[in-house]
Symmetry: D2
Subunit: 334 residues, 4 copies
């Protein structure tokens, strides 16, 4: 079995590197943003959500990133700390950068969109020299978010973090999390995603994200197996490919593949589903659960988050997830 | 008397050029923004506020500007139109610019600040070729806001608008409205403020703003009279210099000067005071009132706006202002 | 007669502001640059050429500009000083800017072109605060070159120089010298050329350059008279419009117009013709010669420069120009 | 023995990717550039020089790069073609980029410097999508020059070329060729140099360049052996570390190390020494010579180039190098 072994001597279970931003969620939902009037502020950004998710699940989590020197930046750091997340690796920008914003629009549970503010954002100003090697050295698992590769100097910071993780034997998970803004071209994205993926143990992404990475290659049938197999030639041991409503499939280096079951949910919006799934799945792997059980745990966590108004703030505890799985199982049985 | 004559044959009383943005006002006030959770969305930007103020006072008003091609941009145009403002001169950006944002923080009525998002904003992308000569030709009064001079191509659009106004005999008012972000240096500001001010009939600003314009000159005593007199050598007929709590002073080309009285207010925040003052003052001038009465009307309008939560949305009608003046007078008398 | 009066008490006859660069003239001429192998280095840039021309004609000349902190920059300053030009107003860039380059290609006397290097050039980095008011205060005549308006901060430096010239009573000449590179758009050029031209006493340009300035106006017949007359409504007293081979025409505010005669030349290349013309013409005006005689002197100076390999280095002395006029007259008579 | 095997079925011996530029060498030498007047034009840029060197030595060589759409760009392509170099991989920029320039100053044989023009240069505008996979697939050996990593999109083009080389089994040589201009920071350089070096078979650089790459590591004694050994953990088989006048040392993966002997030369300037050395050394490896003999051949080629005025144009034929070695050996013997 291709279980991934984590170095139990390390004090920190998990550290994420990348985007820290603010979600401004419309309070009036099921209508276009032109008709909304008030917004509620949450901490956001995919790696931030996953990190908060991991902390809620009971793991010792930390973050490596950069925040603006303003009220939004201070709000973010405070929120992380209140969730028990180690912020020793979070530095404050001094160049006048701002905090990235995501205004969410929920026209219907199935029609959600985001209005992004990504110009001059602090999270993309993290320098390689600001990445704390000691923080990475102390962590069992490093999560890299693809958006952090979108611009210099954050791009270099990620590659430096990958190098530190290799040096110190941390397992590396790569959440592709492709967002077109801030990238110059799809070719640029493909080049850096591939350079990073070569160095990772666990890779998560949608079929479309893997297609993007195969821009200079030939995979005419968009075969998941061909995709996964390419990365097993490098360092990967698990490759998870998501197919939206059709669910996701996880390939392990030993040749096995696993499909996730999905859980019923009272969907408010789709945001945050991937982040809570990632948190739940990684949590399972760290507990040495089989892949299938880890995927189920991730799916249940996702079902809980899409049923509520926020992403970060709705991340469940391990007990909540387990209870939710039990409840669904009972419902099914009855 | 140096009354300013407006061309009564023109159908539009007033047109403003410059910033259109969104204010996000914290609903929880009297605390730092780190502790606020929800925000309410309003149309903002100094010239937008003045224009809305003029429309509320009953004048035929229009706007020349640029909005983002997104939900925020559409909200702004819709709000202007609902207030009866002509938006024929408002164009939509197609380059992916965003809407400027101003998050307000009200720690106390006397301690207010703004967190600005001004990177890649649509309002500064207005091109000279997009300024509608016909709209300016149809207007009695053009208001120019200094922030629109902060960057190209908006800077060129303003100079082109000034040229159209001169050609078609519109009276020109210049509200200095200096905001340090987006300007490269104080020298740059001084140069363009001076170039614009040379072409204006009415100039409003704080003592600090006029000091900035005199950066390359000698006015060691910071004399208001010297300042006003310089502009009377160009085209100016009224120069209003604001001294914060000490009130403001208006100089007329004929040599007269007038001090404004201030009105009692139940101050919630100080934002919007200058904009409502400008609207009230210009309204008075357009009704051919003496300068002193126009200033009083502006001060009363300002007192009303600082007593409420928003800027634009709180702009009073002429009747409300008159009633407020009457009430204050009665209170004084009693 | 609309003779322009210069303030004889001022010690400096002439000061130019703008571009200082390097010409690299192909030594092998009458062939494409792909076939040239060696280049000779000269000081170049239109205002530099005019300034060197004025110094050669015997006037006390100075320069306001910025050079790179490298061998090219030092070469330029040294060359100016060797020509007796006051370089107190020439500052050295400290930001790593380079010296603008112009590689000339002479395929035939009638087919000349220039390959320009204008990225990150020192001359466009002159700041308003670096313009020496005392140098302008000491000068009878300020020459502004349009290329210096192409970018910030040089653009602001020019407007500041114009303000100093007005304050101290210097006559201002504006050589439009439009070069498309470094400008963002023709609209941008039109706006700033017009703002500058409003403040000038003498304006030189080609018909095409004046067309560009009339981009937002109506002059359907491209009438020189309409063009000149517009500027007489501002401050201009002489407007010279050049029509290439058809010669140029000078309008004076008093209503008179004058056409220049052209001189026979053994043309090597066309570069430098306009600059030597400007130097000769302004020299005549400063000697209080009638416009027609000043134009003739400029034309003769131009004929001398186009007959040689360089621009700056070929600028003639007053004696050379006079002798050339005499020789041509004799030839004509015989 | 760790001889490197080249795929003999491939038609192209060698392909280089990176900088193509123009050297402008002062004709008047042994003086500062302020005192030079004429320049001679040559094709330049380190990988261009090496490629020309390889072609002169008799190998089938090609180039992957980008040139400006001007006379300089056309001169470069023509020169490469005249030297028998395949330019199928050389594309022409259409964005208005210029050709990089290097003005050389030779104050004395030991005191040489370069004045660089590297703003907006065509060579750094090569896109990943413009790299011809078929050209790399046809080549036995790919040479990557570090300067091509300095900026996007050229940086991505290099990584894409490295991926194509891996896919098609080309041997990869990496010439660090660090030039501080165009890089944002030393940290940025370290990150990308390391990412590229991991994928290379042969790495050349000075001790200072390897120090730069070890910025985030610990090699306090600056040990060449520690440096080489790090890269042998990746893909490297030969690491050459240059120590200026003290000569260079080559490490092979099998543990052997070799020091180069140097050849007497009548030094005109030091430029081009490294490039001719690289060409000679790689030529030897491709002929399956032992490392020591390849180094000697490189040293002799370098001695020939530093004795002449140009870099590219002075690259010797194999016969010239062999004859030079023989002559030196005879001199030594006598």
């Amino acid at each position: 079995m291709s279980t991934i072994v984590f170095d139990e001597k390390k004090p920190l279970d998990f550290v994420a590197i990348g985007r820290l931003c603010i979600d401004l969620n419309a309070n009036e939902i099921n209508r276009p943003m032109e008709d909304t009037v008030t917004f509620t502020k949450y901490v956001g950004g995919s790696p931030a959500n996953i990190c908060i998710g991991m902390a809620r699940l009971g793991l010792a989590a930390g973050f490596i990133g950069k925040v603006a020197d303003d009220q939004m930046g201070r709000f973010i750091v405070r929120y992380l700390e209140r969730n028990g997340i180690d912020t020793a690796g979070v530095v404050t920008d001094r160049t006048g950068a701002v905090t990235g914003l995501a205004f969410t629009e929920i026209k219907s549970p199935a029609d959600c969109s985001i209005l992004m503010y990504r110009d001059n954002v602090a999270d993309l100003k993290l320098h390689a020299a600001e990445v704390r090697e000691d923080v990475i050295a102390s962590a069992k698992l490093l999560l890299v978010s693809g958006t952090a590769l979108a611009q210099s100097p954050s791009r270099e910071a990620v590659f430096q973090a990958l190098d530190y993780a290799r040096r110190h034997g941390a397992v590396i998970a790569f959440d592709l999390d492709y967002r077109p803004y801030t990238w110059t071209s799809k070719e640029e994205t493909a080049v850096y995603y591939n350079l990073a993926a070569e160095k990772c143990d666990i890779i998560f992404g949608t079929r479309e994200e893997f297609d993007l990475m195969e821009r200079f290659e030939s995979n005419p049938d968009r075969s998941d197996e061909a995709t996964a197999s390419k990365w097993f030639d490098y360092k990967a041991r698990i490759v998870v490919i998501k197919h939206g409503k059709e669910g996701s499939i996880a390939y392990a280096k030993d040749g096995a593949s696993h499909r996730a079951r999905s859980f019923p949910a009272n969907v408010v919006k789709t945001f945050g589903a991937g982040d809570s799934y990632a948190a739940g799945f990684l949590y399972g792997l760290m507990r040495q659960w089989p892949i299938a059980r880890s995927m189920e745990f991730g799916s249940a966590a996702a079902a809980i988050v899409v049923s509520s108004h926020s992403c970060s703030d709705a991340m469940p505890t391990a007990e909540q997830v387990s209870r939710y799985i039990d409840e669904c199982n009972e419902t099914n049985r009855s």
